[in-house]
Symmetry: C2
Subunit: 234 residues, 2 copies
Amino acid sequence: MSGTLYGVGVGPGDPELITLKALRVLERTSIIAWPAPPEGDSLARRIAAPHLNGDKTEIAIRMPIEAGRFPDQRVYDTAADEIATHLAAGRDVAVLCEGDPFFYGSFMYLFGRLAQDHTVQVVPGISSLTASAAALGAPLAARNDTLAILPATLPDAELEARLRSIDAAVFIKVGRHLGRLRRLLKRLGLAADAHYIEHATMADQRTQLLREVPDERAPYFSMVLVHRRGEAWT
Amino acid sequence: MSGTLYGVGVGPGDPELITLKALRVLERTSIIAWPAPPEGDSLARRIAAPHLNGDKTEIAIRMPIEAGRFPDQRVYDTAADEIATHLAAGRDVAVLCEGDPFFYGSFMYLFGRLAQDHTVQVVPGISSLTASAAALGAPLAARNDTLAILPATLPDAELEARLRSIDAAVFIKVGRHLGRLRRLLKRLGLAADAHYIEHATMADQRTQLLREVPDERAPYFSMVLVHRRGEAWT
């Protein structure tokens, strides 16, 4: 009897924004894996920490962060091998995922390596998308609005082309693109109601109107929300 | 001391997909409001039912469903007045919202009427967006993918224009547009990997490859997920 691989969304940061289903999976799974930087804390593990009971075997997936490049895939090969050994022995494994496992999450690298030969269940989590809108008091989209999720890492011309045909947009991975994005939205007349947020739902959450943010750079996990018609709910 | 209005995301259908934070708000709030059709059950209330404790005052917001039209706003005027009376008397009110309150939710009509004069807190919920991806085992987006949420109610030409510049798309409100959407995606060469899902995470959930769904119509809350490069995680 082979074990099940769970991709568990632990939500955006506030440990209360975890689901009952995620809690149940974490309670009964004795092997957990989590992504982390080369040294130090895992954000996903930190979010789940208040909910971790009993002795667990923990697998750290430590990924070098290289600005502007996607990570060396061999780290996932190694982690997938270790996880597969447990699954083959009939042991379930839960991978802790910040936000939602399938919304720009690194879980999909493990999913891609393991889903063909193993049972995989994904427990959806509160994504930074809806958590940021809630924290800002700014509805994302309504009625027949079209909404785009746009990585701020894309060049100006590509962002501009997509913004032209869309009612509302959420920029993810703002990071070092903050100043450029602010100038682009200003030029397109979209800066007035654009909202900036970093560390949504965490103790160090910061929210501001984008036009009042002076910085050129932001933390990687910061976002900008914009709506073409101003406020979506009017 | 004025009361607080809570917009509480109760998730997509499975009562386990509610957050600890939503539970805490529901436990300590004695007045709840929920949207419902003119007669019969409220889906939002049905999702929250296993978690409702004690005696609560309940406010039904019964909204006539008129195909192809947005609802008569006077229903929200009346509901907002009733809710405002409680808030002014210092009583908190929790509005139950299917999925997430700010992701195409009707909560924003109450928000628009009450946020200026009252304290409002939004508790984000698992949206059908990430719940459907989890149920399908189909990652939404990865890396620098652009992702669009597109109401299937829009005309073919508008959907086509938006699909041209986007890597992945989720069609919401598929309903009576199912047949038309299937033909559009086929013509654009995007039908091969398009996934169909209705009643995500509920007992009567149904998932299928879109090209194998013969129907012309679907339930209103059905969705289609598509990724231009086939599978997002490869």
